[in-house]
């Protein structure tokens, strides 16, 4: 059974869906692997590495897409990629199915099976395939590195002969996987870290990292069974704004990681809040790709709002491309092997399996995923 | 012969006394002292014997006086100790938590 790994075409995407180490693992399991030349370059893997791992490296993208039973990619395919897929093929990548109705339907039309990595459930059992977490985790680390890079101050406290430097104050909004990692990293650097999240359950998790949880009473908020946050009512949003103002204005760094699964990210930090910060402060908007938590943040740009740097870096995991590729590739590997029967050399995506049910979007020419179907029919 | 038994008893009691008191938090120093002091009022037993015994008037008077003083020591001692401890109570309760 052949696995194909096309080179990423998405602008600024430096990750790859397959690292050489995993290529050889899959080959030992009885797969054959075809990699488009240059697929790994930007994450630090040369074509030679793939070749050494036993994969076939080819210039011909068509062959990779068309010839393979399984196609692995980081980003969703573009129209003509889809056209190349052979019917019955399995396409695995981040698909953003909520917002890509036409694309998804075209895949269905092509007769290909599509697995959307965003849709992998958050069950304890599925964590090893949970690419959202693995990437968010790295992104969280990156936010802090970016912040300290742009900050004209140091993070830790220092009592020196030339005077005492107070610790930088970091405020993390949204303490999910990414947020928690950001908190941990900032703590490591010696910053004074505060955090807020609408899901009260995370307060304890924040404290478990030695940071302070900012108490803002929003009334009932709660989370989905997947552990995702629910959207807030307008009143609640207002409450949150008010509650955060004071903290933000004192902070040297504000990092927002607030996401709403499948929906545009909530706008949490308004312009006036940014302006209330000291000049030289930094705001990192991790949700910029899904609309942004910060008013005025621009994708892949550092906007200066009177003296405050608002960093809208997209694709944060890409900043640590090597680790990100390793992790993502492992997720795919775990996913495939979970359902791979090495003896029979067959991949059985049992429709009864809860993971399959959750993450398989199209199959046998139709959109099969319940959630997605509802949304599409819904609107 | 009795004397030697008493010697043995003495020896053992002294060792026991040494072993009994090991580490005492500062707050307990005074109460413990006062508690021990009350015990040392045991001499009242001696006082009673001599006061009660009939080795002549003098010894009886001496004994009686002894009873008086010893009694002060005993009664007062235990009471004072109790009051002190009552005072420390609150503090003591969280002490263990504190030291463990």
């Amino acid at each position: 059974m052949q696995i194909g790994v096309p080179k990423e075409t998405w602008p600024g995407e430096v990750r790859t869906a397959m690292v050489p180490a995993n290529a050889s693992k899959l080959i030992n399991q009885g797969f054959s692997v075809v990699v488009q030349s240059g697929a790994g370059t930007e994450s630090g893997y040369t074509d030679a590495d793939y070749a050494d791992a036993g994969a076939t490296v080819t210039e011909d993208r068509g062959a990779v897409l068309g010839g393979s039973d399984i196609v692995m990619s980081v980003r969703k395919p573009n129209a003509d990629d889809v056209a190349k897929l052979k019917s019955g093929a399995l396409y695995i990548s981040f698909l953003d199915p909520f917002n890509e109705k036409p694309l998804v339907e075209s895949i269905a039309a092509q007769g290909a099976t599509a697995i959307s990595m965003e849709m992998v459930p958050r069950s304890t059992r599925a964590q090893k395939m949970d690419a959202l977490s693995s990437q968010a985790n790295l992104a969280g680390y990156v936010t802090v590195i970016q912040a300290s890079y742009h900050l004209p101050k140091i993070m830790p406290m220092m009592m020196t002969p030339s005077g005492t430097i107070p610790p930088a104050r970091v405020f993390v909004i949204g303490a999910g996987v990414a947020g928690l990692q950001a908190i941990a990293t900032a703590k490591r650097l010696g910053a004074r870290v505060e955090a807020f999240d609408t899901r009260p359950v995370v307060a304890e998790q924040v404290q478990s990292l030695g940071a302070k949880f900012v108490e803002i009473d929003l009334g009932d908020t709660g989370q989905t069974d997947q552990g995702y946050a629910k959207e807030l009512t307008p009143e609640q949003v207002e409450l949150q704004r008010e509650g955060q103002k004071a903290v933000i204005s004192q902070s040297d760094v504000v990092i927002t990681t607030a996401q709403l699964f499948g929906r545009p990210a909530p706008q949490i930090v308004s312009r006036d809040m940014v302006e209330s910060m000291k000049p030289g402060s930094v705001v990192i908007d991790m949700a910029v790709e899904t609309g942004g938590n910060v008013e005025g943040s621009v994708m892949n740009e550092v906007v200066d709002i009177n003296g405050v740097k608002v960093v809208g870096q997209g694709n944060l995991p890409g900043e640590v491309a090597r680790n990100a590729s390793d992790m993502y590739s492992n997720n795919l590997l775990n996913l495939v092997l979970e359902f791979w029967d090495a003896e029979a050399k067959t991949l059985n995506l049992d429709p009864e399996d809860e993971i399959i049910q959750a993450c398989v979007i199209t199959r046998d020419g139709a959109v099969v995923n319940e959630t997605i179907k509802n949304i599409y029919s819904g609107g | 012969m009795e004397a030697v038994f008493l010697a043995m008893v003495l020896m053992l009691s002294i060792f026991l006394g040494f072993e009994l008191i090991s580490k005492v938090p500062a707050t307990l120093h005074t109460p413990l002292m006062s508690g021990a002091n009350a015990i040392s009022g045991i001499t009242i037993v001696g006082a009673l014997v001599s006061a009660g015994g009939e080795s002549g008037a003098m010894s009886t008077y001496l004994g009686a006086a002894a009873v008086l003083f010893a009694m002060i020591n005993v009664a007062g001692g235990y009471l004072v100790t109790n009051r002190m401890l009552a005072m420390f109570k609150k503090k003591d309760t969280n002490q263990p938590g504190g030291n463990s």
Partner: protein
């Protein structure tokens, strides 16, 4: 009741005393302990009264009741602040009682020399316990000056008294008679000795003295026990005597004085005055614990040595224990402590010491004289008073943390070696300085162990 029965009851009473005393030693059980030992006392008294040795009850009952009433009333009246005096008084009355018991025992016929000796012991110890306690009471309740009264010839005088005491005792034992003049001499001398022994001790040390006298009164009771061949007196007396010594020792250490010094206070007082200058006073973890345990405010002053020993984690732990124990804990960071700017911050942050416990040199110095214990952990130059006082010291003029002005200073280092700047440090010879030698991590860990164990 038969002697056998009585003595069996005594055994029970003794057992209760053991329990009581043990439990008195730990906060959780102290109250119960006190009750137990009082029960034991009641038993002892009761069975004695029932013993057929006793003939005339009236007198006894009368005195007993009067005594009890006095004791109770006083104990109720006295307010908490003057507890120690009270204890002293009670102790004194215990002493005088033993004296009288001994004295009375003289009247019983057919005493062996051994008995005579024990009788004398109970008289002597009882006597000095009495006078000593009264004096201690006087000092504590400011009835008289609480200062240490020291005069030149003291040693000679004391020695004289002792000799006299021994002499008279011997002479008395040669031909014991209740009206022998030597008897009165002994009594007088022992009373005098008690006074002399306590005179030269300052009010601050009184608690220790009382605890010691208390141990003596135990021994007096024990001696009395021998005098009248009484089991329970011996057991309870000697046990209290022993326990008292231990307690005294503990208290001394907690006050950072040596027991020997208190035991021979009179002579000690003089000695001590002479030898302080330029002398290094080492201290062991256990004593350090006792002092810290009683401290209300503790300041850690870390230096390069803490980094070398990687002691930051245990230090934080000790800090937490001290806080739990009710002390106010701060970490005074000198700007140049360590080998790089912010060296201490790196380590303490790693050990999760909360930022708000870190205080700068400028902030701690003004209030350092209110700090009970300053614990200098592998710091040297940054706490070197020479920088303040010694014009020609190479580090003169560098601001330092004035730990030498704290009530007590512990310096944790491995040797008397100097620091980065190679300058000797007068702090180590300070009067209020105690050197806790050894690797900082080991030392602190040891203290922590004392706290927990």
């Amino acid at each position: 009741m038969s002697p056998v029965a009585i003595n069996l009851w005594y055994v029970l009473a003794a057992a209760l005393f053991v329990f009581g005393l043990k439990q008195l030693g730990s906060p959780a059980t102290a109250v119960r302990g006190n009750v137990l030992s009082s029960v034991a006392m009641i038993i002892a008294v009761a069975v004695t009264l029932l013993s057929k040795e006793i003939l005339s009850y009236e007198m006894i009952l009368l005195t007993a009741v009067v005594g009890a009433v006095i004791g109770v009333v006083v104990a109720q009246k006295v307010e908490m602040t003057s507890m120690p005096e009270m204890v002293a008084l009670f102790n004194g009355s215990g002493g005088i009682a033993s004296l009288m018991v001994g004295w009375a025992a003289l009247y019983s016929t057919g005493n062996t020399t051994f008995t005579e000796v024990t009788i004398l012991l109970s008289i002597v110890i009882g006597g000095m316990t009495f006078s000593g306690s009264i004096l201690a009471w006087g000092k504590l309740s400011e009835v008289m000056t609480s200062a240490a009264v020291v005069f030149g010839a003291q040693r000679i005088v004391n020695a004289g008294i002792l000799v006299g005491l021994v002499a008279c005792s011997v002479l008395f034992c040669m031909n014991p008679a209740v009206d022998s003049p030597y008897l009165y001499a002994v009594i007088a001398l022992s009373l005098l000795f008690g006074v002399m022994a306590v005179l030269p001790i300052g009010g601050a040390d009184m608690p220790v003295v009382i605890s010691l006298l208390n141990s003596y009164s135990g021994l007096a009771a024990c001696a009395a026990g021998f005098a009248i061949n009484n089991n329970i007196l011996i057991v309870a007396g000697s046990m209290v005597g022993a326990a008292g010594i231990i307690l005294t020792n503990i208290m001394c250490k907690a006050m950072n004085r040596s027991l020997g010094h208190v035991l021979f206070s009179g002579f000690g007082a003089v000695k001590q005055a002479t030898k302080v200058e330029g002398e290094v006073k080492p201290i062991v973890a256990e004593d350090a614990y006792l002092i810290l345990e009683a401290a209300q405010s503790v300041t850690f002053v870390p230096g390069y040595g803490m980094a070398v020993a990687q002691a930051q984690h245990v230090v934080r732990e000790l800090g937490e224990l001290l806080e739990k124990n009710g002390a106010e804990v701060t970490y005074a960071i000198h700007p140049v402590a360590g080998r790089m700017p912010g060296h201490m911050n790196v380590l303490l942050a790693e050990a999760n010491v909360p930022y708000d416990q870190l205080v700068e040199m400028e902030d701690i110095n003004p209030r350092i004289d209110n700090v009970d214990v300053a614990v200098v952990i592998g710091a040297n130059d940054v706490v070197n008073p020479a920088a303040r006082n010694d014009e020609n010291s190479p580090i003169y003029g560098m601001p330092i943390i004035n730990v030498d002005q704290a009530r007590t200073v512990f310096v944790l280092k491995r040797s008397m070696g100097s620091g980065f700047s190679g300058v000797d440090n007068p702090l180590f010879f300070g009067d209020n300085t105690r050197m806790l030698f050894g690797d900082a991590k080991e030392s602190i860990a040891a203290v922590v162990a004392e706290f927990k164990g």
